[in-house]
């Protein structure tokens, strides 16, 4: 029982972090119908921003989150105004290849600036701390903080979009850009804002992630894939969808733990020798594949 409780709690916790990573992707897609392949690279830059700022200034990595968010916002806006703005005038293929190119540029820029070595934060308020809740539930402090921020961010973004004028303008742009333009909404600025918001949420996720996840210039791809799976599962453009799909994906990555629980319950020796942990992300991609096959608009999708 302890194994199961431990796995489920860990799955939900990491799921909330995954959801935060996917939030930016779903905002950008929701507003502009453009798939940002460079999303994981934004995250990677967020991780580096937090790590380097913390190391240079000596402040706790947690305190670098607002700065990372600012960097991400600017990065998103600059990418939009300097690059994506021109891409969206072209065909769909140009958009796909364009953001793919952006991914390569950012990754190689990071390789050039930071080198290919793994970097990890070893010191910080929460690093290495964990709370034993009993029942086999152990909550590492860094992941708990990330999960809390994730929930706050989701609520904030949801409120922003549903309760403010700028959110309504964003929504209008998302639903019908031409119509919104006729109504006097500066859609160009709305698009830039969506990119900024997307960039800020994902770099903030990176700044949290770096407390317990090591960073290399290649780390982005894994998260891009996970974020895609989440966004597809939750429905492209759906914000609550991204949150719940994140939780589901988090639980899927914990399948090995659930398997261990089943092994202990049934007592079959052969089950212990199944290499479940070797394939922990395989199940995520399998879920992505299945949802594409069975319900392409996702669980909460409202577009198309």
């Amino acid at each position: 029982m302890e194994i199961l409780a431990g796995s489920i709690s860990a799955g939900l916790l990491i799921g909330m972090v995954f959801a935060l990573v996917a939030l930016g992707l779903t905002i950008i897609f929701g507003v502009m119908d453009i798939v940002n392949f460079a999303h994981g690279e934004f995250l990677m830059l967020g991780m580096y921003t937090a790590l380097l700022t913390a190391q240079a200034t000596g402040v706790d990595p947690l305190l670098t989150i607002p700065f990372a968010g600012l960097v991400g916002f600017l990065l998103g806006v600059i990418c939009y105004l300097g690059f994506v703005k021109y891409l969206i005038r072209g065909p769909m293929v140009a958009q796909l290849l364009g953001t793919f190119g952006l991914m390569l540029v950012l990754r190689n820029l990071a390789l050039f600036l930071f080198g290919s070595e793994d970097r990890t934060i070893h010191e910080g308020l929460l690093v290495g701390q964990s709370f034993d809740m009993g029942m086999g539930i152990i909550l590492p402090a860094t992941k708990l903080a990330a999960a809390v921020l994730s929930v706050i961010s989701f609520i904030a973004v949801w409120l922003l979009i549903n309760r403010t004028r700028i959110g309504k303008a964003l929504m209008a742009t998302a639903l019908n850009a031409q119509g919104a333009r006729y109504m006097g909404i500066p859609t160009e600025r709305m698009n830039a804002f969506a990119w900024g918001l997307g960039g800020a949420t994902v770099t903030m996720a990176g700044a949290l992630l770096v407390n317990f996840w090591s960073v290399t210039p290649y780390v982005g791809l894994l998260f891009t894939m996970i974020a895609f799976a989440i966004v597809a599962l939750g429905g492209f453009g759906s914000i609550p969808g991204a949150f719940f799909a994140g939780l589901i994906v988090g639980l899927i990555t914990e399948l090995p733990g659930i398997w261990d629980f089943a092994t202990e319950m049934t007592g079959f020796d052969w089950m212990a020798s199944v290499p479940m942990t070797s394939f922990k992300y395989t199940w995520v991609y399998l879920a992505y594949f299945l949802i594409m096959l069975i319900r392409p608009r996702g669980l909460f999708g409202w577009k198309h």
Binding site: E117, T120, I138, P140, S214, V215, L222, P256, G257, S278
Partner: protein, 435 residues
């Protein structure tokens, strides 16, 4: 245009002259290509290896008669008129494909006469295949997958003992503990240390270690509850750790490279795992970063090793070389740097014996060489390669040790030798005090 052309000719002449001078200079040096992971996840070990190799080349090229080692007494290769050794380092990032490409470049562009490396067994596998195809000798100093020497390669020699030897040491050690042979610990009933769980990284090296652990645990009557393979580049290992924990093992065994070894220990701590013993198959477990990052948390952790500075207490030559290394690097030799040193030393002795850079001469020299143990900084009986048989090219005289991280009187964290029992330098800490 004509004016420019007039300039081009003299320029080319100067260039040709410079090139000619370079080749005449190159004839006095012998180039050996060295492939190590200088960047990437194992960069820490790469730096160690490089420093060890460079120190050996420095000692080989200059005469330092105080060091009790033939290589130190000579300056350069005396059988080739004092030719100097030049090491050309290339980075393979732990990537087998890149390693093979770099090996081709070294052989074709840099015209090296042989290769040394590559640390990662998976990379050594592809690089040695390139060397075998091209008929270029390769000495492997630091890859321990047993499979590397049972391919019948004619251009491949390995100085380090391999993982079957090392893993056997582990089980002999465990057996010895139950018999009360360990210093400072009474005999521990086998029931207390019977269950094991292993996590190995899933490339060539780790998967071979994993298989060896499986076989030997049966042979020695231990119960391997769980054995998992994981990706060394994995940025998160929490589900792996929970899976290990779910087996409730007495002892946890690991084969990890540096960044994953550190991540594994941190995750074990965060998940409050409490095995009675943790043993690492060298590599990441003795990288300098491992102890500098984890600090006091490493105390009590066991690692197989081939070198500990404590060896210097019994072997003068180890102490002398370690002193020089410490002067250069500010820290002691490790298993990685000591083996890289020994790899270069073996190259030097083979060349000395061959008296020529012709591949056939080097091959013959390597197959018949015998370097006695007193010449080596590692505590082996010597270096002699099996020329035939199922372990062709393997050094038959190597041996391993098991070290334990402990705090010495000065409060520094050092690796004390706990196995072989007769050369133990400190009392065994058992059980692990936990994180």
């Amino acid at each position: 245009m004509k004016k420019h052309f007039a300039l081009v000719l003299p320029l080319m002449l100067v260039l040709a002259l410079v090139l000619a001078m370079q080749t005449s200079y190159a004839a006095e040096t012998i180039k050996i290509g060295v492939l190590y992971p200088l960047t990437g996840g194992a960069a820490a070990e790469g730096r160690e290896l490089r420093a060890g190799a460079e120190l050996a080349a420095e000692i080989a090229n200059t005469s330092i008669p105080e060091i009790k080692m033939d290589m130190a007494k000579r300056a350069g290769i005396s059988s080739m008129g004092g030719a100097k050794i030049e090491l050309i380092f290339k980075d393979h990032e732990g990537n087998p494909t890149l390693g093979a490409d770099q090996a081709k470049k070294l052989i074709q562009d840099d015209k090296v006469i042989g290769i040394l490396g590559c640390y990662h067994s998976a990379v050594t596998k592809t690089v040695s295949a390139v060397c075998e195809e091209m008929g270029i000798p390769m000495i492997n100093d630091s890859s321990t997958s047993p499979a590397l020497t049972n391919r019948g390669f004619k251009w491949f020699w390995r100085t380090t003992p391999h993982d079957i030897t090392f893993t056997q040491d582990l089980f002999e050690f465990l057996k010895g503990i139950t018999e009360g042979k360990a210093m400072g610990v009474p005999a521990i009933p086998k029931a207390q240390i019977k269950t094991l769980a292993a996590a190995c990284e899933k490339t060539e090296w780790g998967s071979q270690v994993s298989q060896t652990i499986e076989t030997l645990s049966k042979d020695y009557g231990f119960d391997l509850k769980k054995s998992i393979l994981y990706a060394a580049k994995s940025p998160d290992l929490s589900s792996e750790v929970r899976s290990l924990k779910s087996a409730r093992p007495d002892i946890m065994l690991f084969a990890s490279y540096a960044s994953d070894a550190i991540l594994m220990m941190k995750t074990l701590k965060a998940e409050k795992a409490g095995p009675k013993m943790i043993w690492g198959q060298d590599a990441g477990f003795e990288a300098p970063e491992f102890r500098s990052t984890l600090g006091d948390d490493v105390i009590g952790i066991l690692t197989r090793t081939v070198f500990a500075p404590q060896v210097g207490q019994v072997k003068d030559v180890s102490g002398q070389v370690n002193f020089l290394y410490r002067k250069n690097m500010g820290r002691d030799l490790s298993g990685a740097s000591a083996r890289a040193f020994t790899g270069v030393q073996t190259w030097v002795e083979v060349l000395e014996k061959a008296g020529s850079i012709a591949p056939a001469a080097i091959q013959k020299a390597a197959n018949t060489i015998m370097i006695p143990g007193e010449q080596l900084i590692v505590p082996w009986k010597g270096i002699r390669f099996a020329a035939t048989g199922s372990d062709q090219g393997q050094n038959e005289l190597g041996s391993g040790m098991i070290g334990q991280y402990q705090k010495n009187k000065a409060g520094e964290i050092v690796v004390e030798i706990v196995y072989p029992f007769d050369v133990a330098t400190a009392k065994l800490i058992y059980p692990l005090k936990g994180f």
